[in-house]
């Protein structure tokens, strides 16, 4: 195929978008609708995953020192924790002194009767350590147990049950969202190619005429493919704009709800950092479905 023919076919495909306004509009809008919904769902999924992951990270390892631990023994533990912090295992930690422990238990028990045997001195000092990743917990806890200052009787607390619950949620959620996304993706592909098929169908006479005049399949096909790709891309771009607007709005509303319910541990992602990736996903998706959808739709009518 000669270069001027390629250029001709590309031009043809482009101008067909204008010439078949209604059909281009329908196709573009289908792309916009499908991608928009896909994108919003994806963003919600990312938000929920991120939040559950951060809850998992917020789980603390609780370590009690022996009531009688020496300053040296204490120092050993602190050194180890800080060294692990440098190594990137520990995210942050805080200590609870004997005095604080006593205060806490007193306010917790309320009934002074129960406090009879308790003094500041027989309360243990404790550490609350957040890990950067829950996966480090087992090794970290094993190692801590080896320190003589650590009270192994109390056990080193790490809310395995809570962790597992969160992981369970995450797994369910991931599963549901993956199922939804896959289904939605299939539906999107289906709807878009359906629309393209209809628009090509409406022009089947044209395709036949071209064939009757002696055009090669490729000569007929390429303008449609170019048209499909352009429609996919335009749809993706519009959908991206719509998504960014809708998401920003959603983010504002949700943030104010979060604040009014004091759910400050939850946070909503900004759109900016993911914008480029979303745009890429949209474009690639739109272009591929548009192009392939056109290709397949045209093929059926070429056999005359």
């Amino acid at each position: 195929m000669k270069i001027r023919t390629i250029r001709l076919l590309a031009k043809e495909g482009t101008s067909n978008i204008y010439k078949n306004k209604l059909m281009s509009f329908a196709s573009i809008m289908t792309v916009v609708a499908a991608l928009f919904f896909l994108g919003i769902l994806l963003l919600i999924a990312i938000n929920i995953t991120t939040n559950i992951e951060s809850m998992k990270r917020d789980l603390e390892v609780t370590v009690f020192l022996n009531v009688s631990a020496s300053a040296f023994e204490r120092e050993e533990v602190v050194t180890y924790i800080e060294q692990q912090q440098t190594a990137g295992v520990v995210a942050q930690y805080r200590t609870e002194s004997k005095e604080q422990a006593f205060e806490n238990i007193r306010s917790e028990l309320k009934n002074d009767d129960l406090l009879k045997g308790l003094t500041v001195e027989n309360m243990p000092e404790s550490f609350y350590i957040k890990l950067t990743n829950p996966a480090f917990s087992d090794n970290f806890i094993e190692k801590l147990k080896t320190f003589s200052g650590v009270n192994a009787d109390y056990g080193i607390g790490y809310d395995k049950a809570e962790l597992e619950k969160l992981e369970g949620f995450l797994k369910i959620f991931n599963f549901v969202i993956m199922a939804l996304l896959v289904v939605l993706m299939i539906i999107a592909v289906f709807l878009i190619s359906n629309t393209i098929r209809l628009t090509v169908f409406a022009r089947r006479r044209e395709i036949e005429i071209m064939k009757y005049v002696g055009a090669l399949d490729s000569f007929i096909r390429w303008p449609f493919i170019v048209e499909g790709i352009l429609i996919g891309f335009i749809g993706a771009a519009l959908s991206f704009l719509l998504t960014s607007q809708a998401y920003t709005w959603l983010q504002n509303v949700l943030n104010s709800i979060l604040i009014s319910f004091r759910l400050t541990t939850l946070s909503i992602l900004e759109f900016g950092p993911v914008a480029l990736r979303i745009f890429m996903v949209y474009s690639i998706f739109g272009i591929i479905i548009g192009g392939i959808g056109s290709l397949l739709s045209v093929r059926k009518h070429l056999n005359v």
């Binding site: 195929m1 000669k2 001027r4 023919t5 001709l8 067909n16 010439k19 078949n20 044209e206 036949e208 005429i209 071209m210 064939k211 009757y212 005049v213 002696g214 055009a215 090669l216 399949d217 000569f219 056999n303 005359v304």
Partner: protein, 228 residues
């Protein structure tokens, strides 16, 4: 050039389009195909351009054997033919000019050739002024002449015209027929299905007469078939 060997075309609904038709047309001939409405003229022409395939028998055109032809060669067969369709088949989204240009674009003619040839072809059929009109903006006869221009523009080896003057007044019809004769004299084989008694009688060309799908007569310098 074109050869039908015992060709039969039966349509999917059982209607016989053409029956046991054996005939050949040599290079450079001018042939009229006549017959009553529904006698198989269009079927005959459609078999040549591979719009329909024969149910039985064989069809050879320009060295291609049309009856069993690989898909990929069909476009090349059609490019060796210029066809005036009875139902026009103009691209609705293209102007008269672009419709004619399209026939040149598919054979990858240069833009310069296209710019020279297309106005020439439109001029030949008397439609220079309608170059920018879309099919739905033209009268029946004007559309028909655009189709003829498209069929001519690539100087095909064979020109097939299915009632090319059905929507034309006698004067324009004669101009078109003279044009076809001229083209024929330059070496193009011309096959015209027509109902125009006057023209057939006056031009004294070879006449193939069909009746209910069968060749009833085939005469050099024939006259329009006198029914009964």
């Amino acid at each position: 050039m074109i050869r039908f060997v015992d060709t039969t075309k039966i349509y999917s609904n059982g209607v016989v389009g053409l029956k046991n038709c054996t005939v050949s047309v040599e290079k450079g001939e001018f042939v009229f195909v006549i017959g009553a409405s529904g006698s198989g003229k269009s079927t005959f022409l459609k078999l040549i351009m591979h719009e329909e395939v024969p149910t039985e028998g064989e069809v050879y055109v320009n060295g291609y054997s049309v009856h069993n032809m690989p898909r990929s060669e069909i476009p090349f067969l059609r490019r060796s033919l210029g066809v005036v369709f009875q139902d026009f088949r103009l691209l609705p989204n293209k102007t008269a000019y672009d419709n004619v240009a399209f026939a040149m674009q598919i054979v990858e003619a240069t833009p310069r050739e296209i710019r020279r040839q297309v106005p020439l072809a439109l001029g030949l059929v008397g439609l220079s002024k309608k170059a920018k009109a879309y099919p739905h903006q033209m009268s029946g006869g004007e559309q028909q002449r655009v189709v003829l221009a498209r069929a001519l523009v690539n100087n095909p080896a064979v020109l097939i015209a299915d009632e090319p003057t059905g929507n034309l007044d006698p004067k324009t019809s004669w101009e078109i027929m003279n044009l076809l004769e001229e083209i024929n004299q330059r070496g193009t084989t011309v096959i015209v299905a027509t109902h125009e008694k006057d023209i057939v009688d006056t031009m004294k060309k070879r006449v193939i007469a069909l009746e209910r799908g069968e060749i009833k007569s085939d005469e050099q310098k024939g006259l329009y078939f006198n029914e009964n």
